[in-house]
Symmetry: C2
Subunit: 107 residues, 2 copies
């Protein structure tokens, strides 16, 4: 039972759920209305997202409001950071090249 954030966001429905509740906390029923699959299927997605702490619950009577755990989303950002360093470097190299060409054209 692999259950990490990367496996969690691999599923398109789960990414859609994340995007939905990022805006406002929602109940499972309200969330399920946005998809073609059954409420129970959505419930399973919510369990997976909860288990890896990407979302959190807030009980209110018999309803449960799910909302995004923004801090956990940052972990994906952290993983990306190492590659961001690379593409920013390449950008800089391109900038340098363009600068060089501009200087040479001026001559």
């Amino acid at each position: 039972m692999r259950r990490d954030i990367f496996q969690a966001i691999a599923d398109p429905t789960r990414r859609a759920i994340i995007a939905l509740i990022a805006l406002q906390a929602m109940t499972p029923n309200a969330i399920a209305e946005n998809f073609n699959s059954t409420r129970q299927a959505v419930s399973k997605h919510l369990r997976i997202l909860t288990e890896c702490e990407l979302i959190k619950q807030e009980h209110q009577g018999r309803e449960i409001y799910y909302s995004l755990e923004v801090e956990k989303m940052k972990e994906i950002d952290k993983w990306l950071a190492q590659f961001r360093a690379i593409w920013e470097t390449k950008f800089n190299q391109l900038d340098e090249l363009l600068e060089k060409m501009k200087t040479q054209t001026k001559k």
Copy 2:
């Protein structure tokens, strides 16, 4: 056959491969040496990563060098951007609160 970047980075071995070749282009054999699974298993991972264009090949004689397609990595960053907006807003709110408290303490 789902084959998108999010499904591609769901597997820990594939994330490791990405991190490996991000530094320098490598042949399948060289990449496989870093893992416990067979060369063929790594080859399958390389195929999946190639299919969703996260990595690219460069043939050189009978060897093939694989390297990271940095532009494609940015797509994950783009998806994250919508949530970054949220956590940066929360950060700002915290900043404002802290600023407010500081001001009140000074009084």
